[in-house]
């Protein structure tokens, strides 16, 4: 797929998905380019007692698991945004975004493989983004969910939604701006962060930067560092989904 700045390779282990992608994204499809896969839509085994979830992988990391093929395709289409340079004044984050009434919660992408139950997250009041691109406004310090610049052909989108309707929890975070309420860092403990030196805390925030477009810039590090003292910062040493859910539960209940 030619997204302008890059040619993005999509692949699937399923002929039906390939066909839907070919038709749905025909306007940006390139057929004569040998390209490595950047997005993989992996259809799980649906026969038998234990149904396997379908997976969307971006750059080798699973960013979505779902039982809906339609959701998988819609998420992949939205996910093309990831490969586009952020708008001026914004920077890409390697973070998973959850939105609560209190604001945005950023989870460091190192936990992308963690399976967090959507149902449990929903009960805590969190909405998720289906692996959409997450940007950060360097001036306002808000999280930005960009409007999708690529969409499926309407007829194909309709065909897909007829078979696999949109789920209530699907891409529940609308494009827009969200103030940051909390940052959850992995591989560190909140207590350690609280006693860490100011420079070390800024470096911790900087770990949220997605440097796949360019190396981190001082203005970006400085802007993320300005979150220090303004937002709640939590951390967990391990990479256990239960630990993360516990932190999210406490954040959802915490008084301001």
């Amino acid at each position: 797929m030619d997204v302008g700045e890059w040619i993005i390779g999509l692949r699937s282990n399923d002929e039906e998905i390939v066909d839907l992608l070919r038709r749905g994204l025909a306007s940006i499809r390139l057929d004569d380019v040998d390209v490595l896969p950047n997005l993989s839509l992996l259809r799980g085994e649906e026969r038998g007692f234990a149904r396997e979830l379908h997976r969307l992988q971006r750059r080798g990391v699973t960013v979505l698991r779902t039982k809906s093929v339609g959701r998988l395709i819609r998420a992949a289409t939205r996910g093309l945004e990831h490969f586009l340079e952020p708008l001026p004044g914004q920077v890409a984050l390697q973070a998973r975004l959850l939105v609560h009434d209190r604001g945005a919660v950023l989870l460091h992408d190192a936990g992308a493989e963690l399976r967090l139950s959507e149902r449990r997250l929903g009960r805590m009041g969190y909405r998720s983004t289906d692996a959409t691109a997450v940007r950060f406004d360097l001036d306002t310090l808000e999280v930005v969910v960009p409007e999708a610049r690529f969409g499926l052909d309407p007829a194909v989108a309709h065909e897909i939604s007829e078979r696999w309707p949109e789920e209530d929890t699907e891409a529940a975070v609308a494009p827009g701006r969200y103030p940051v309420y909390a940052v959850v860092l992995l591989g560190t403990q909140a207590d350690h962060l609280r006693i860490a030196s100011p420079a070390r805390r800024i470096a911790s925030f900087a770990s949220l930067l997605d440097t796949s477009f360019h190396p981190a810039r001082a203005t970006e590090v400085e802007a993320l560092g300005r979150l220090d003292g303004r937002v709640r910062v939590e951390g967990t040493l391990g990479f256990e989904a239960d630990d993360l859910l516990q932190i999210l539960r406490e954040l959802s209940r915490a008084s301001d």
């Binding site: 030619d2 997204v3 302008g4 700045e5 890059w6 040619i7 993005i8 390779g9 380019v33 390209v35 490595l36 896969p37 950047n38 997005l39 993989s40 992988q57 971006r58 750059r59 080798g60 490969f83 030196s197 100011p198 420079a199 070390r200 805390r201 800024i202 470096a203 900087a206 440097t211 190396p215 981190a216 810039r217 001082a218 590090v221 400085e222 560092g225």
Partner: protein, 132 residues
């Protein structure tokens, strides 16, 4: 990785610390985070090192800086000189500082090719892990 500061002149009082191009400091409440904008590295400086960093203008020698430091912090000149030399050695070792008396180390911004040429914009292919 930036620069080739390793192997440059030994740090002594005559050494002139100059900041390697492409390294930008972010203030962190008296400390500093040095951002290597070309190599994607972060380096943390404690308050003392951050103070020294501010003094590295490519003109003042280590002895000049140590003299000021001794004056401001009311410490013996010998101690200020030893501390400054040690700090500068650490920064030189990490290619963050070079001796301003000589040429800037290879690989700094001034020696990078100009990328503003009017090269036709073409989509490029992203290299990905095998299981991308």
């Amino acid at each position: 990785m930036l620069g080739q500061a390793r192997g440059t002149a030994a740090v002594d009082g005559a050494f002139v610390p100059a900041r390697t191009q492409g390294i930008v400091a972010v203030d962190a409440g008296g400390e500093a985070v040095l951002v290597d904008e070309m190599g994607d590295f972060l380096h943390l400086l404690n308050a003392s090192a951050a103070l020294l960093w501010e003094c590295f203008d490519g003109e003042a020698t280590v002895a000049d800086i140590a003299f000021d430091l001794a004056d401001v912090l009311a410490i013996p000149m010998e101690q200020a000189l030893a501390d400054t030399v040690a700090a500068v050695e650490g920064l030189v070792e990490r290619s963050l500082v070079y001796d301003g008396r000589g040429e800037a180390p290879i690989g700094t911004a001034r020696e990078l090719p100009d990328q503003s040429d009017d090269v036709p914009h073409r989509p490029r292919l992203l290299e990905e892990p095998p299981n991308g």
